[in-house]
């Protein structure tokens, strides 16, 4: 397996693990409080929809000329990666609330209980919430599988890494029977942000006609370089926040950039 393929598998595995942990919390909440069979039906339907998206778009992407594909994939990975990285840096600096899976679980469970009486058969509420949760969390992973996989013509490897991550998370969830609150989500998101931004930069520049010194080996400098800059930015931001006058520091960490459609 080449270095780029290891990077592909690692990025997809970490991204999918984070998203699967978040989806698991939602499914656990509606499954426990409403109906396991309906919640699992929602999970199955969303998984089929995601598989259909990958199967339909994968061949279409791989049929594009390589330079066009690299510019598109590089650009999209950079846009996604910079969003993941920015949010991870803001969380690391205490400027954005970290994901609290236990709190999210309790909120979802409260909402599920308040959603009216459970029907004796199929529970539409449990199905819909589980379906939406898995589809929305999975859409980003499907996108990463497609872009990374198509660019290296290894969609199957990317899909396998995503599938393995789901198995690990589901296995851990079944064993723990509670939300996986101890998973270091922000650290994983930080790493995913670094990987997506690095590969996006590399492929985007190549697609646009640039040649990296050392070819593929340039990734060995780009990835640590992005990591070092991102860590430095997180430290500078943390120091700035601690040095700021009290009235400028938020007492409750909030999303300073507004509601994000992606769950990174």
């Amino acid at each position: 397996m080449s270095g780029a393929e290891i990077g592909l598998a690692l990025s997809v595995f970490l991204a999918c693990t984070v998203e699967a942990v978040e989806a698991l919390t939602i499914v656990l909440a509606v499954g426990t409080t409403r109906s396991w069979s309906s919640a699992l039906s929602g999970v199955g339907a969303a998984t089929l929809a995601l598989a259909a998206i990958v199967a339909a778009l994968g061949p279409a992407l791989t049929s594009l000329p390589i330079d066009v594909l690299r510019v598109i994939v590089g650009g999209l990975l950079l846009i996604f990666g910079l969003q993941w990285l920015r949010k991870a840096i803001l969380r690391a600096a205490g400027l954005k609330a970290k994901h609290d899976e236990q709190q999210i679980y309790e909120d979802e469970a409260t909402a599920a209980r308040a959603a009216g009486t459970k029907p004796s058969g199929f529970d539409g509420y449990a199905f819909t919430i589980a379906f939406k949760g898995v589809l929305l969390e999975g859409l980003e992973v499907a996108f990463i599988v497609l872009t990374f996989g198509a660019n290296q013509h290894r969609v199957a490897l990317a899909a396998a890494a995503a599938g393995f991550a789901v198995l690990v998370v589901v296995g851990a969830g079944v064993a723990a029977r509670t939300p996986l609150a101890k998973v270091p989500e922000n650290t994983m998101k930080f790493v995913v942000g670094v990987m997506l931004s690095s590969f996006g930069m590399f492929w985007g520049a190549e697609g646009a006609g640039a040649s990296w010194p050392g070819g593929d080996a340039a990734l060995l400098a780009i990835i640590p370089g992005v990591l070092i800059v991102a860590v430095a930015m997180a430290r500078i931001l943390t120091r700035t926040v601690h040095a700021a006058p009290l009235e400028q520091v938020p007492t409750t960490p909030a999303d300073p950039a507004g509601q994000a459609p992606v769950s990174a």
Partner: protein, 70 residues
């Protein structure tokens, strides 16, 4: 009709997210890389500079948002 209009909006929100300036910046950086490369000059350095600048600017905007709310 609402669904027809809603789909491109959903795609835009999914891809671009909550910081459209960064998305525009990435597109401009790729275009600049292509221009520099087409001129026969080494162009690999454009993207790292642009990416670090875009990340710093995005964080600065987020910080300003926090300061305003704080």
């Amino acid at each position: 009709m609402t669904r027809v209009r809603g789909f491109p909006l959903a795609v835009w929100e999914f891809v671009v997210g909550d910081d459209w300036r960064t998305a525009i910046g990435v597109a401009l950086a790729l275009a600049l890389t292509a221009l520099v490369a087409a001129a026969g000059v080494s162009a690999w350095w454009v993207m790292p500079l642009a990416v670090f600048a875009l990340l710093a600017l995005s964080l600065r905007r987020a910080m300003r948002g926090v300061s305003r709310r704080g």
